[in-house]
Symmetry: D3
Subunit: 228 residues, 6 copies
């Protein structure tokens, strides 16, 4: 159940019996051969699935995240981290003022983790606000799937190659992970290091594994939605 499919009376009705909200953040950035909106598509798909099972409301995704290092890859549209934090703050305050008290952030992008600082600052101020944060690709559950199949997860490799993020042909051969000279690189250096944008490894695995990944993340989310 997405907000976009409802009018405000529907949401008012919802708030009479529930105060949870799923918020999707991610990035519009290069993902190698995958969709530029991969980091939104994945958590949004998870949100939809979780909403389907629990009835928890899903807010429209914030389609842009913090990706300054990828700005040399065309199609990457990045917010300054400070802008992103402001936007998330405004959305949280809006929802909180209407009675949403438990919010689960499904984050699709590693560069957004600074947002947690702002959320903590808000949680200090807004009484009764409870926040969960889930970065699916960093979860133990997803890691376990990768370990079980002995394949290394990484940015824009098989890990993110879901049927709904694939927008064209994927290379057959594995990519050797490049040498990364620094944790903080400007966008020109980043592109010269990563070339096609994948961080290396296999580009694709069989769909069954992708389903395992998805299910593992979904189980985590269903658990988090209990806000225990």
């Amino acid at each position: 159940m997405r907000i976009e499919d409802l009018n405000w009376m529907d949401v008012e009705e919802y708030l009479k019996h529930d105060d949870r909200l799923i918020l999707v953040i991610g990035a519009c950035e290069q993902h190698g051969h995958l969709s530029l909106l991969t980091d939104i598509k994945i958590p949004l798909a998870l949100a939809d699935a979780a909403s389907h099972r629990t009835g928890v409301l899903v807010a429209p995704p914030l389609n842009f995240g913090s990706s300054p290092y990828f700005l040399t890859y065309p199609g990457t549209l990045s917010l300054r981290l400070s802008t992103l934090m402001d936007a998330v703050e405004d959305i949280v305050r809006s929802a909180y003022g209407q009675g949403f008290k438990r919010m689960l952030f499904l984050n699709g992008h590693g560069g957004n983790s600074g947002v947690k600082a702002r959320l903590t600052e808000l949680a200090n101020e807004l009484a009764g606000l409870s926040i969960q944060w889930y970065a699916w690709w960093m979860s133990h559950s997803v890691e376990a799937v990768a370990i079980r199949h002995d394949i290394k997860p990484s940015h824009a490799n098989w890990l993110e190659a879901f049927p709904f993020t694939i927008v064209g042909e994927l290379p057959e051969e594995d990519k050797v992970p490049p040498h990364v000279p620094s944790e903080v690189m400007d966008a020109k250096t980043t592109r010269s290091v990563y070339g096609d944008g994948s961080f290396g490894g296999r580009y694709r695995v069989e769909e069954g594994i992708m389903q395992e990944v998805f299910d593992a993340a979904l189980q985590d989310i269903l658990q988090l939605l209990k806000f225990e």
Copy 2:
């Protein structure tokens, strides 16, 4: 052609022969009986149609706008105007740095017009940047349709009741436009003034008229995409 259906190589290819980009902004706010995302759905549909005919690329929509006056209507998720301006600035700078030089903003929401000030500030700074701004409901073309059929266009009335923004039943009877005591009202006053959120008039007209409205706006957009 949306960015979300492409990878970065596709966009790099696109930039070899075109430097235009369509950007969709709007709001996640009460629209009476219509979808809370009405102000995104309409310009996005127009963007898709225009893209279909011209091949111009469409960026992911920025799903949140400036709607402080509607915050008492559940589901309204509003950015401060300053946050919205920052977000738009960041997106423009990202695209400009990659070679997009002509950008058309399709704005679906009246409260966003302050963004034009920031865009002008940016245009003063970024050499060769050319911007068009289109607020479909304020265009002479759309106004002409309304006059032709002698129906008054307004927020959350028939004007925005497209098949793709209707999410439930619409009232049969017209609404008498309420007395509006001030141009600047807090959200509590606004709700007490507007009740169901529509600004009044008919809630719905036959689909043929909606198609006329859509086509009128689309023709304007196709013209603006020439950047003459």
Copy 3:
């Protein structure tokens, strides 16, 4: 009665029986052949006239507005819209803290309308604050005068040519309104489009019409000062 002609004891006395304040905002920007401070002079004259009849206090004008498109015209001194919003916020908070609860903004400049968003945000926060906003040149009353005399009102044409804004000779011949290629133009383009800065039409009309315009706006203001 202007604040500048009073000391703080006078204002404290005033607040015992009234809580209204008139705030004048506008711009220091090119107005063709008219004064660079036209957008302040007009609302300030209206404020003085309204104050004369009602005794409502007038704050010192904020002499600078948001005019990024005119920065190529010497003498245009523009604030970023974000700065303008901050300044207005600070002034409102100052007055509110001292007991002013009803504030009428007389705005002389179209580029300032983004300020309304900030004022709404403030009205959401500050209990009991009531705001009115008046942009004289956009009022139905003033429009009616123009229609009655069949002359088209526009930036820096006859509409703003009051005795107190005229600082030199005005052209005799009408100006043909130029073709305006976009709603968002950088300052260089703007100057090449508008030349002398007037948006076209007659440069001047007889004083009687100007008096009608002034009176029409004044009546509106007197009405708004009732805060009904």
Copy 4:
């Protein structure tokens, strides 16, 4: 010669032979029994006098400064220091972009001195920009007048009681300067310390002395306008 009495063509003409600009900043704040706009009126009178002798252009005054400590005195309308700095920055950038390269700030208010930091930051960035700053009441010249007549200058005492800042009766008896417990006090404490707002001493001296003060400051300004 004030900008408000000119149109943009006049300023363009001016810039062909001069690149100096006088900028007036101050405060709208309690000044005991004197005008709430005292801190603008004095530097503006000095600016007019200096302009009269040198032909240097005077920008409209920024009527609000940083006076958080006086907010308990009705009529004090204060900007946060950060807002004030932003406003001054925007004005300087506007003027600089049009060819003004030498700017003299006539500051009427002690609380504004933080602005100098921002001006220095700007001077580091804007090549060829030359700035002078004059706080008349802190000058050796004005101090010398006070010493010569053996009267102690202070906020809202005789020092600021010019014919054009007096708006009512002034007390006959001197005020004993109060004990000031701290350099940083909230507005409530400040009012309890200062009572009527004057910092103490004589409320008024003969006009001849005021003329001496004015002339002393004016001579300084004429010297600074040489930008040597």
Copy 5:
């Protein structure tokens, strides 16, 4: 060699043959039984050791980081993340303008990682700037020491209990790591979860292990200072 032990002529001399700078950031926050400045003391000790061997200059530490979750523990003095990013930006710009082109950040605190986004934004803008970032406790080298001795590293447990961070008695018994209900918790919840502030495990190990940890990190740093 610390900047505080030099005057500017010394630094000018240094810049003739080297352009590297070590910058220390961390936090002033609860560290259980350890010093409130633990997150500065450790990277500063590492910086001194690395400087001793390489002669690279060390800037004064920025003694405050982003620790909103610990604000209920007295002595925690936290910056908003946005403030921290601004401060780091200003310091980087200052140094860059003087000829420092290679900067190594030694970060002592996990909550500061959002700073990397700002650094990337700066690296995109400042040509020739090269940045390294090192969070000692997250390095593979330090992890290897922990694994070798089979002890789990965590906030405010043995991992940070260096002779120079111990300010009093340490508990003898291990602490059972508490259940952590969310990745984003307000400061009240955080304190109720963590009690004494340690994240659990052993409070102290023999000094030899601490020396191994220190040496492992130091070797990493010496490597990073090559900026390869």
Copy 6:
């Protein structure tokens, strides 16, 4: 007693019987032949001495201040004034939230005085917060020492040449104070004016005088710590 030598339990204990805190701010900037951290070292030494006698807690110093005019002197690491104000605000809010209600700022640097505006804004908001501010070199007590010995105090001359700020040889001969063309100069001009960075006069006096200076400032501080 410095915070860095305590853990949070110690501070919690302290707060049971005292609510005072000493905060040290200054600058990392050129001081002629003296340490680049002179403006921190002096107030920190005073803080330690005052703490020794009173037991009042000392926070870690904020090692960077606002010094835009000295950025051409290598080793000067300056914050924008707005950043500095934000940082001080965050620290004050952190401490206030934990029960510190009386804060004494020991400021070592003239360029930081704009911070007082922000502190006043905070004092208006935070009930019960009491602030003292001390700029040792501007005190009457220190001035009296200089007058008694007939030596003129100035930036980076003898006045700041304490044993703990001297990092090398000091010139024997006095420096003639240079002509200073403006109160607001960019960093290039500033360096061309001041050369070695001292503002002129004697570079050094006998240690006994320095002890007098220190003691005079210390007595002031002990008085201020009574918060009367």
